[in-house]
Symmetry: C2
Subunit: 151 residues, 2 copies
């Protein structure tokens, strides 16, 4: 991922835009989350979003999973390979379409997702430290509106 600004020198007027602050905040949060957990959980933190989607929607085709995280179908092959090597997911033949590999969490995968969810909740508390419940809710709602505005 692209270059992420942080402390020290500031970019003038740009600093007071949603786009810039979004980038700075996300990069700091993401790097922190992954750096703390990579040693313990391998590739899982990076693909926590994907693992959560697989857990919520078991048995989906790789194609649909690729769309859901906005990567090419061919790119998902290596991602699932790695998560499968780590024992977190498994491919099973689809009952209705012999072309598709349906992807499921393993038992270990479910445990790792649950553990990462707990860690993410701790990070979430840190991200929102000093905010009232109403402020936190507003931030979540407005971020959702930004996403909707980009569709």
């Amino acid at each position: 991922m692209p270059p992420p600004p942080s402390p020290g020198l500031e970019p003038g007027a740009l600093a007071d835009t949603i786009g810039y602050r979004l980038r700075v905040a996300q990069l700091a949060a993401y790097r922190r989350f992954e750096a703390r957990l990579a040693a313990e959980f391998g590739g899982a933190p990076r693909y926590f979003g994907l693992l959560a989607i697989i857990g919520e929607h078991p048995g989906q085709a790789q194609s649909r999973l690729a769309e859901s995280i906005a990567v090419q179908r061919s790119s998902l092959v290596a991602i699932i390979d790695r998560l499968a090597e780590e024992g977190l997911v498994e491919r099973r033949p689809s009952a209705t379409d012999r072309r598709v590999n349906a992807v499921w969490l393993t038992g270990a995968g479910e445990r790792v997702v649950a553990e990462l969810a707990a860690r993410a909740a701790a990070e979430e508390a840190r991200l929102s430290a000093g905010m009232t419940a109403a402020e936190r809710a507003a931030l979540i709602r407005l971020l959702g509106q930004v996403v909707d505005n980009l569709r």
Copy 2:
């Protein structure tokens, strides 16, 4: 850059966290901005934040610029090489320390920064469509608080 969730399948409870929405919103906004402008402006959109910092703080050493965007000093060498090849920045010897290369925008660099700032303002309007001025200000303030919470 990590995998970015988008439409279609959703990750359950994770979807209502600051961390997740930050990632989805930032990735969508960043990809959109870079994809639209890369053909016209080359590497500049990717390093718009850095170019803005150089414009606001001319003559800084490469080391300090590297810190400001959270990359290694050695990584900045290639970045400045490329921006210099494109005629946007130039290295000048420091008057006070012969070890340092002070980095400055060229005239072309200043024009590109101004043009990108205008394009970024248009994107900013899109990101915040449908928000009141108070909501937009709250979003900017709360994102700043997230950044501060991570320091």
